[in-house]
Amino acid sequence: MRFLEQDLISLDAEAKDAEEAIRLAGRLLVNGGTADNRYVEAMVAAYREKGPYFVLAPHIALPHAKAEDGVNEASVSFVRLRRPVPFGHAHNDPVELVFALGSSSSADHIALLRKLTTLLNDPANVQAMKEAATAGDIEALLAKA
């Protein structure tokens, strides 16, 4: 299980739209070896088919697809966009923080979601993720949380 490790984090990335933002976060999983390219395309396809329901909170999106779409290891990556982009969500646009979830059918999947929920339930942590200067700052935040 890999949760927001430094190589899975990209701060102040540029994306022109929602699909590019999803692909940026997905590519971190691919580069980290936890998911295949087809998983990234499955996340984009899920967005096209089912809409932006995964924009779970103001400015926060959690794109994901199914475990069988090409995940090697349960994982979460994080992209912070330099310029937030609209995903088409009525309440929570525009999206600045994108967490790509590499779904898995293992117990790790639930453990990861619990870690992410605990982190994002605290507004102070969300603010800290918006303000972090480096991936190392986020690692330090996670060590405290």
Partner: protein, 87 residues
Amino acid sequence: MKVLCVCGLGQGTSLILRMNVENVLKEMGVQADVEHTDVSTASSMPADYIVTSNELAQTLQGHSAQIVIVNNYFDLNEIKEKLKAVL
């Protein structure tokens, strides 16, 4: 009392919602059977309440359950207020 937490795929966001709905119900002292699933399975599952996003709520309008819309899945106060309003 049965509560369904619903998302598009039934694997990620509905599970997050379920964790927080369970937290809130526990805090409120409400006993409930909370499950999570995807939107197409939910339409044929019996439930008293369905908690979901505004986007998916429209798809579930024909369901006999009372639908509770949550905008911020990480805001325990919002979840609590919305549940209090219907329970």
